[in-house]
């Protein structure tokens, strides 16, 4: 209940609250090499868990940061990027984001702006980086500067999943930043979500009837659910005592994502 924004039955996203767990998400257009980068970093560890219903692939990794062992879950899209938008659960509780484009295809670079905008709607503060992949195809691109990362104040990496250039460096730095962020979250949303979750737990019993009402609500347009977890709405919903409808709007959206996929 409390975790409905990230509601994926197979996954308990609450685990990401534990100190030794971080969630890192990958964003970027189709075929920019997101999975290839994961594969190059993880090598033998590479055992993706496909959640095809949700167009989602998970990779688990154990990392050592300082003296601590950290369990890292990498979230990768599996075609969901085609909707030009990710389900809110994808961003939920993420501690860092790796944005990838293909140096051979301009459109994938231009689309970074859209991905970044959506990321910041959900996660205004988490560490993020820009990755220019496939430099092996044409090393000359490394003599060019790409201004998007600089303008947004994001670290930028030239990498190649094929020959391995800077792949491990990039992942290690992002894991470190994810862990640092977790220790010192600067995100207002994290606090709001925590508050909301506590509130939900308290309200759960007295509101159990409202569940059915919530479920029968017609599906919302994705556009409206995008704004679902913005602070203002969260407060409205919370203090009107109607937190259940909030939760079910988001699970309606799961159904919608799946439906629109089937309709293609």
């Amino acid at each position: 209940m409390a975790d409905d924004v990230g509601s994926i039955p197979e996954l308990d996203q609450k685990k990401y609250d534990a100190d030794e767990q971080v969630k890192i998400i990958c964003l970027g257009d189709s075929a920019v090499g997101k999975s290839k980068l994961m594969e190059r970093f993880l090598l033998d560890e590479f055992r993706p868990q496909q959640l095809s219903t949700y167009a989602l692939t998970l990779y688990k990794h154990k990392a050592t940061v300082g003296s601590k062992t950290v369990a890292v879950d990498f979230w990768d899209t599996a075609g969901q990027e085609r909707f030009q938008s990710m389900h809110p659960s994808y961003y939920h509780k993420a501690h860092a984001c790796i944005m990838v484009f293909d140096v051979q295809r301009k459109i994938t670079y231009k689309n970074l702006a859209n991905w970044y905008k959506e990321l910041r709607e959900y996660r205004p503060e988490i560490p993020c980086c820009v990755v220019a992949n496939k430099i092996d195809a044409d090393l000359k691109v490394t003599q060019r500067s790409f201004s998007f990362a600089k303008k947004q104040g994001l670290p930028f990496y030239f990498v190649s999943a094929a020959d391995g250039t800077n792949v491990v460096k990039m992942f290690r730095e992002m894991i470190k930043r994810a862990v640092d962020y977790k220790l010192n979250p600067s995100d207002f949303m994290d606090e709001v979500m925590e508050e909301l979750e506590n509130f939900d737990l308290e309200k759960k019993e007295e509101n159990s009837e409202a569940d059915e009402n919530g479920l029968s609500k017609p599906p919302q347009q994705p556009g409206s659910t995008l704004r679902l977890i913005r602070p203002a709405r969260v407060r409205d919903q919370t203090f009107s005592g109607n937190s259940n409808s909030l939760a079910f709007e988001s699970s309606d959206c799961v159904a919608m994502t799946r439906k629109s996929k089937d309709n293609r």
Binding site: L43, K110, S145, T165
Partner: protein, 158 residues
């Protein structure tokens, strides 16, 4: 029998895979026409390719032909059976850097990725390569970088 595969193609009528190979003993170039049987416009190309690759009469000849290539040839054959022109079929495999791949369906995307994978495999460093370095780091000199043309035309977008 030992042979060296040179080229492999497809013939629409009757549906066949055509293999050019050099006979190792005689050094002569030969052509082998392999009929594609039990194959329709509804067939699964990957299954058909695997079946052909392991066919007892042909597998010795096809040993050097990657299954992915056989699959691609079957896709061409199937698309042709579905009425597409050869030009359109070949275009569906071609990479256009301007094309928005987000707009393709699974199979169309798989074709483009197949092409990309060829470059990837060509440049790939494998763990068993003697000069493989897991955490390969390369610094690129930022001081001499020129502005990328992708930023010029629409700076305001970002």
């Amino acid at each position: 029998m030992s042979c060296e595969a040179k080229r492999c193609g497809v013939r629409f009528s009757p549906p066949s895979i055509v293999l050019m190979y050099v006979h190792t003993d005689t050094k002569k170039m030969r052509k082998r026409i392999i009929p594609v049987r039990n194959f329709s416009k509804y067939s699964d190309c990957s299954v058909a390719a695997e079946r052909l690759k392991n066919h007892p009469r042909h597998r010795d000849y096809l040993r050097q032909v990657p299954q992915s290539q056989l699959e691609k040839l079957h896709i061409i054959l199937r698309d042709h059976m579905q009425g597409s022109s050869l030009e359109d079929i070949l275009a569906s495999f071609r990479l256009d850097p301007e094309e928005d791949l987000n707009k393709l369906d699974d199979e169309e995307l798989a074709r483009k990725k197949g092409q990309m994978d060829r470059l990837f495999e060509r440049n790939r460093k494998r763990t068993d390569d003697p000069d493989f370095v897991y955490d390969l780091e390369v610094e690129f000199d930022k001081s001499n970088q020129e502005k990328c043309s992708w930023d010029e035309e629409s700076d305001d977008e970002f």
